[in-house]
């Protein structure tokens, strides 16, 4: 694969479609090694199995930063600020090169919409930043929707036949498509209205439900912080209050927070604060603390669903 060096300050975001793991390794190794040769800091963030294949194939593996995406990117909303941006900021003034595989076979239907939105938002979040991000997609194992979405979220597509620009590139459409209502299940759901003067009670309620669901002490505390941050947004920007619904699934404890506010900026909570908008600082921390964050926001109101894994 040949590759022209991008301009120093352009952002490059490419989707790599691989039919099997041999092709994955064959596609990534030259990307990584040519980055190292160019003196660029390189980060590879993939699920552990893929990570190990690539690490074994790279001669100078110690020169590369490696991250298990199934852990670091468990919550897709965490990847831009806490994985990608964090790496960029650790290397100020330098062009960086990143492999990021946020979507793999086994991502659940609950997680997937947040993954697709994440891929779409990378484009706006990194515009003008000196970075190259290559996102591998399992062309054999992933379904048609995921592959079609990848064509919409990556301006450049790469496969065995070469590189080409994506005619279907339309990241805003993907953000909008998955900004959809978040239904409450029919099963048992606890409901609490909250207001600025009932936040301690709200935290007690969340802690009790989380403890019953089996969350450890630290995770209960993280969830209390996350719920309090969203409630704080309601107090400041949505008429002073909202409602919380809590339920459990076999996998998750779920907190759904609804208020009358609107997150007009799709990048709210996706960036570290220097370039962030109203309520953003709390939201970016919410992304760091929770295992999955789903958002549905319109001028008529905002619903945020926080998922915490019950068994880590």
């Amino acid at each position: 694969m040949t590759r022209t060096l991008p301009n120093q300050d352009t952002f490059v975001h490419e989707g790599l479609f691989y039919p099997d793991t041999d092709a994955l390794v064959a596609g990534l190794v030259p990307f990584v090694t040519s980055g190292l040769a160019a003196g660029e800091p390189v980060l590879v963030a993939m699920p552990r199995a893929h990570l190990e294949l690539v690490r074994d194939a790279v001669a100078d593996a110690d020169a590369v930063s490696w991250a298990d995406m199934a852990d670091a990117g468990r919550n897709p909303g965490r990847i831009i600020p806490w994985v990608l941006q964090a790496f960029v900021e650790r290397h100020p003034g330098r062009r960086v090169r990143i492999v990021g595989e946020p979507i793999w076979v086994g991502r659940s239907d609950t997680e997937y919409p947040a993954c697709a939105q994440h891929e779409a938002m990378i484009n706006a979040a990194f515009t003008g930043r000196p970075a190259t991000i290559l996102c591998p997609y399992d062309a054999t194992g992933l379904d048609d929707t995921a592959l079609a979405d990848a064509h919409a979220t990556h301006p450049v597509l790469v496969d065995a036949t070469g590189r080409r620009s994506s005619p279907a590139y339309a990241p805003s459409d993907v953000v909008a498509r998955y900004n959809a209502p978040l239904p409450t299940p029919p099963g048992p759901v606890d409901v609490r209205a909250y207001h600025v003067d009932t936040l301690p009670e709200l935290r007690r309620f969340v802690a009790a439900r989380a403890a019953v669901a089996g969350l450890g002490e630290d995770r209960v505390a993280d969830l209390q912080i996350a719920v309090t941050e969203l409630a704080a947004n309601s107090v400041a920007h949505a008429g002073g209050g909202g409602t919380l619904q809590v339920w459990t699934t076999p996998e998750h404890l779920v907190c759904k927070i609804h208020d009358g506010g609107w997150l007009a900026d799709p990048l709210a909570g996706r960036l570290t604060p220097a370039s962030d908008g109203v309520g953003g600082r709390g939201l970016v921390i919410v992304h760091a603390l929770c295992d999955l964050v789903r958002v549905h926001t319109t001028p008529a109101g905002t619903t945020v669903r926080l998922h915490m894994r019950r068994w880590l």
Binding site: H195, P200, R203, P273, I285
Partner: protein, 283 residues
């Protein structure tokens, strides 16, 4: 809400935003608060505006204290709020805080265990006082309380203040009583000044409802120290702190230079937040 149970939790060292929306509820709170102070031999000063002085005296009497006697010997004083807060027709936050500190010192000289203040804040709405100025005053008056010699009940009539303004002002108080306050209420946050090492011991919770008060108390604790010294904030009693609280601590550390802010006793969730916010700040 059970006013008696809630007022009973207020002690010297507390700065409470008490919101109400019917006159009788305001009078009930003031009557109990003043009576409790007089019965403990604290000095009490009430700055009244829309609440009627005679009705306040009657409410205190009803709660078992002897307000007429206390008025006669100076243990209870009732003054018009506007004359005190706006002597020149505008609120001068620094001057008002200074005069209250003076009042507290006088109460100590007179042998009282402490000073109770009632601030009927309706004047601020009536005179169109800028909310930012009002917040500046309420935030800076927080410096009076960590010595445990002053308690204040700031009365805000919810009918007079727009809701957004009210909650902005409320957040400059460590604790607020609102329409949904229950009988198990305790003040959300308290600060105790420590001498050796110099600093504050904080007990309670910090969230959107009191974050401006928390930031003001932390800032005041560092401002008191000469350059080169370290202020110690004992956070072992803080059972909950939100992102803004962690940010305030990081900001205070930066603003204090060349003094140092040392945090001790942070519980694990706050330590995680400080790491996350600190990482952001470096960016």
């Amino acid at each position: 809400m059970t006013t008696g149970a809630v007022v009973g939790q207020v002690d010297l060292g507390d700065h409470i935003c008490w919101t109400y929306d019917v006159e009788t509820a305001g009078l009930d709170a003031v009557g109990r608060f003043v009576a409790a102070g007089l019965l403990r031999d604290e000095k009490v000063v009430c700055f009244l505006d829309t609440l009627d002085p005679a009705a306040v005296v009657a409410a205190v009497h009803e709660r078992g204290a002897a307000p007429e006697e206390a008025l006669a010997d100076g243990r209870l004083r009732i003054r018009p709020a506007t004359e005190s807060y706006r002597p020149d027709g505008r609120l001068d936050p620094d001057r008002m805080v200074f005069s209250l500190a003076d009042e507290s010192a006088r109460a100590q000289r007179e042998g009282h265990v402490g000073l109770r203040l009632v601030g009927d804040m309706s004047w601020a709405a009536r005179t169109g006082t800028d909310v930012a100025e009002l917040c500046r005053y309420e935030a800076s008056v927080n410096r009076l309380f960590p010595d445990g010699r002053v308690a204040a009940l700031c009365l805000y009539d919810r009918r007079l203040f727009p809701a957004d303004d009210l909650w902005t002002v409320a957040a400059t108080h460590p604790s607020t009583v609102g329409p949904r306050t229950g009988r198990t209420w305790i003040p959300l946050l308290r600060a105790y000044r420590t001498g050796q090492p110099p600093g504050l011991r904080l007990v309670g919770q910090v969230d959107v409802s009191n974050r401006a008060a928390f930031a003001a108390m932390v800032t005041d604790a560092t401002d008191r120290l000469p350059f080169g010294r370290a202020v110690v904030l004992d956070l072992s009693g803080v059972s909950f702190a939100d992102v803004a609280a962690a940010t305030a601590l990081v900001d205070a550390g930066r603003a204090a230079r060349p003094r140092e802010v040392r945090l001790v006793g942070c519980r694990p969730p706050l330590r995680r937040l400080l790491d996350l916010v600190g990482a952001e700040v470096r960016a």
